[in-house]
């Protein structure tokens, strides 16, 4: 029963995991490992989820913690034990929209250049998370979130002007 509930929650929020994996790993193989690692960590902490925070806040926290702490070699070992060589979350047929896709590609390229913490911040910012929620997920103060986001916005503007 718990497993069913877990599958449903993952199913409803799989885009969150997909975006985090894409932002932290450009290599498809590593991305698959990270995806499994995130799902594993989510499953492990699922029993402790008490509903005091929003489900997405909890998922962001676990998924970003995992992505930031992730190290390929370590996770490869655990992934081999799981023994899955295909993605659990896949994107089979997406409608092509040249303009939007170009912007997304550009955003992913910019995200790739950021450090691990800023990657998390920009993802949360783009996903319209409130500063208070970002602060709760990352464990830094709201004023710090605001400072860092202003800096990232400045960086984004610079990247846009060079585009």
């Amino acid at each position: 029963m718990e497993k069913e509930k877990f599958v449903q929650i993952i199913s409803e929020n799989q885009n969150l995991i997909f975006k985090i994996c894409n932002s932290y790993c450009s290599d498809q193989e590593i991305r698959k490992d990270l995806e499994q690692e995130i799902l594993m960590q989510l499953w492990q902490s699922f029993g402790k989820f008490d509903g005091r925070v929003k489900i997405t806040t909890w998922m962001y926290r676990v998924a970003l913690n995992t992505a930031i702490s992730y190290y390929r070699k370590n996770s490869k070992q655990s992934a081999r034990k799981v023994d899955l060589d295909i993605s659990i979350i896949s994107i089979p047929d997406i409608e092509y929209d040249h303009q939007t896709d170009e912007k997304i590609l550009f955003l992913y390229k910019v995200i790739e250049r950021l450090n691990k913490m800023d990657k998390a911040l920009v993802l949360l910012y783009l996903d319209n998370q409130k500063y208070s929620e970002i602060s709760e997920i990352l464990g830094i103060s709201e004023s710090n979130v605001s400072t860092k986001i202003s800096r990232i916005k400045k960086f984004l503007k610079e990247q846009i002007s060079n585009y």
């Binding site: 902490s45 913690n65 930031i68 702490s69 655990s78 993605s87 047929d93 939007t100 450090n115």
Partner: protein, 205 residues
Amino acid sequence: MEIDDLQKAWAQYDKKLNENLKLNEQLLRTMNLDKSKKEMNLPFVHELVSLIVAGICMIFVISTTYKFAGNLELLLSGILTSIIIALAFIGAYKKIKILSNIDYHKAPIIDLQRSLLKFDKLYLKCKKIEFILIPVFVLVALPILAMGSKGYDMLEHRDRYLAILISSIVLIYPIVIWFYKRAYSNKLRNANDFISELNELELEE
């Protein structure tokens, strides 16, 4: 292009992902989540085993030392061995304490990284002490362990003592280095990458 355009594009992308992403539910179910849980914490399991082994060894060494307390050389060997084992026991206990407090669910990212760094610092300190103490441990532990387990007086057979001592040291170092590299160093490298980011954040606060 402005930041607002990017945000709008991201929102559209999110919507598109929502509509198109496919979760392979069967695969998620078959992913042996419960079993793999045990495989996830190699350092933790290693420290737990070290703690138990050190505890058992300490009881064995202390009782043997007590039994042969009349022999000064064995008494000294027993005391020094017990001290080294006690150090290993304390180190393992401290590491377990830090590792068991790490909680992916409740810890915000910064706290998690702090805990990992704390663990890594302790691990490095223990590793350094361990590397220095390996030859000392083999040297002092051989007589009391041989006497306690086989009733064999190693100090009476100095040539054999020296041969076992050298071959043990030659064997132990590569094994320990290999194991630590596999079980710990990757995490350590990753956490070290974070030091600069943490420092930067703390300076801003």
